[in-house]
């Protein structure tokens, strides 16, 4: 948001130097824990044990190899993919349907509907845990869908609960976005005899691409980062998504901080990659819910 005055060459006054100095210090302090994790992960345990962590040397990639093997990261990443990809697609699809109806029609229950979805996203998960836990252990699934033969301890259960929980935020953002679309579009579409479904799928959705991209980026990181549901609704260690498997790793990694850091970096990599590649979308997604537009 640049003010409409010509860009002035700003002189480096002492105040500005101070300001930059302050921001640099804060930024580096903020980056430090992550940088430290990366640094620690690249050093051998024996070297740091002998020379202390505040030393230089012992560079190796072995921690990554060991962490990957002992923690079965391959399997856990796959589990995360099995849960995250369908959950994000389903969330965006279902949320956009509701948002379309809310934005397209003025109907006396619109606000109620918006409230039901938005508030659901803000409830504390633990407040639903007890009945859900029981429900999940009661609902049977055929064996080809889940080897626990229950919704409990299955990917399906986690996908469903993530979708149910995340829908609210997406409905809220998408309905705001759709309300801002020009009304004439629908008038024209109706004159052409387009059905409601076509108005949704072929008129509205393509126009919502920026919002959908922002939400998809955000939801991928959120569902990938989801820890609570997987911890309580899964039992079999092999099926845990990678974020929740972290807790098992600590036992396996013992007190070897170099391995812990390699594991942490491995788990962080997908979100960091998404973040740096799609930073614009990510940031817009976070602020879409907070401000208009």
């Amino acid at each position: 948001m640049s003010v409409d005055t010509p860009v002035r060459r700003r002189k480096l006054t002492p105040l500005r130097i101070l300001l930059h100095g302050f921001l640099i210090v804060v930024s580096l302090a903020w980056l430090f824990p992550i940088a430290w994790a990366v640094l620690t992960s690249l050093r051998s345990y024996d070297y740091t044990a002998a020379n202390g962590y505040v030393s230089f040397g012992g560079w190796t990639l072995d921690n990554y190899v060991t962490a990957w093997r002992t923690a079965e990261f391959g399997q856990h990443f796959l589990n995360s993919v099995y849960i995250t990809v369908p959950a994000v697609l389903l969330t965006l699809f279902l949320a956009s349907c509701v948002a379309f109806v809310i934005a397209r029609f003025s109907w006396k229950l619109n606000l109620v509907l918006l409230g039901i979805f938005t508030a659901a996203n803000l409830l504390p998960q633990q407040a639903l845990l007890i009945p859900l836990f029981r429900l999940f252990t009661e609902v049977p699934l055929p064996e080809f869908m889940s080897d626990s033969e229950l919704l409990y301890d299955s990917y399906w259960g986690l996908i469903l609960i993530n979708v149910a929980f995340q829908c609210g935020f997406c409905v809220f953002v998408l309905s705001n976005y759709m309300k801002a679309l020009p009304r004439d579009l629908y008038e024209a579409a109706m004159v052409d005899g387009a059905s409601i479904w076509r108005q949704y799928w072929q008129v509205t959705m393509p126009l919502c691409r920026p919002a959908l991209a922002a939400l998809a980026t955000l939801e991928v990181t959120w569902i990938y980062n989801e820890f609570f549901w997987a911890t309580v609704l899964m039992r079999t260690g092999d099926k845990f998504p990678v974020t929740s498997s972290l807790n098992n790793l600590r036992g396996e990694f013992f007190t070897d901080n170099n391995l812990v850091s390699a594991g942490s970096v491995l788990v962080a990599i997908p979100t960091l990659v998404i973040f740096f590649m799609l930073q614009r979308h990510f940031v817009r997604g976070l602020t879409l819910g907070a401000s208009k537009g």
Binding site: V3, D4, L19, H20, L23, I24, S27, W30, P33, I34, W36, T40, Y53, V54, L94, C97, V98, V101, F105, W107, L111, L113, I116, T118, A120, L122, L123, P124, Q125, Q126, A127, L128, L129, I130, L135, V163, A164, C167, K179, R183, S195, T221, N225, F227, F228, V232, T243, N247, V260, S264, V267, A268, T271, L272, F275, V283, L286, T287, S291, K292
Partner: protein, 318 residues
Amino acid sequence: MSDLPLIQADRAVPPPASTTSTGGRRRRLRLLSRTDRVVITLMVLVPLLLVTGLVWLPAAATVLLSGTNWDGIGPLDEIEFVGARNYSDVVNIYPPFVPAVQHNLLWLAALFVVATPFGMFLAVLLDKELRGSRFYQTALYLPVVLSLALIGFVWQLLYSRDQGLINAVFGSSIDWYGDSSVNIWAVMVASGWRHVGYIMLLYLAGLKGVDPSLREAAAVDGASESRAFFRVVFPVMRPINIIVLVVTVIESLRAFDLVWVVNKGRNGLELISALVTQNVVGEASRIGFGSALATIMLVVSLVFITIYLATVMRENRE
């Protein structure tokens, strides 16, 4: 469903600007075709059933169960209502409850008094379009993309007693995560680290939405920068302020992942959310009791959710 025939094309639609000779037909009540009505019903009903079934009904069931003595195993018809006994038990004979409430409040206070103003302050500085602003911003909100569980691990590298950086640098031997007198502060620092970036981002978006002419007017009137901020800019950002307030309250109420990865919310890290979880998935499953704890969380959060919804809905109507 019975409401569907009442659906109207939005009345706010202005009639086409240039009315042709055939124009002027304002179809206020558009009767949709049967297929269209079925499609609309499904578009709303399927997500609604999912959210109701997996979020709202469980929430209601939690409230109901909090009045019973159910142990989670016996058949449902043996449930007995015990009134408010679970609540009185929670308050009176459950030692971790009081520390948990204190920790939740402490968490809220730390996020609200330290992390939130700091995030806002950074947003104000970064809103000045400094050179290198992009680097500063990226560094500050990088922690927001990490999960809180992962943050627990990353900070362990600084906090661990024997291998942690803090003790190595200061020559101390404090077990930051294990010592029950300091660990709540240690995890709050880690949690605040993430919260600052998030708040900064929200305020940065809010500041960009403030009408620049307001600030110019304040500057013309000779108001100092800080005066202009507190008297002009801050009040205009009221909706953002309320959203930030609610987000902070809810985040501190929902805080869970971080303490759970550290020690499952025991030994100095009691939080209400962790107590609920311990009572359900732990060795002793005390359903009625856990539900009473969960209901307390639910009620507190619903108060703030209502404030939030009232704010954003008013915003949207404008």
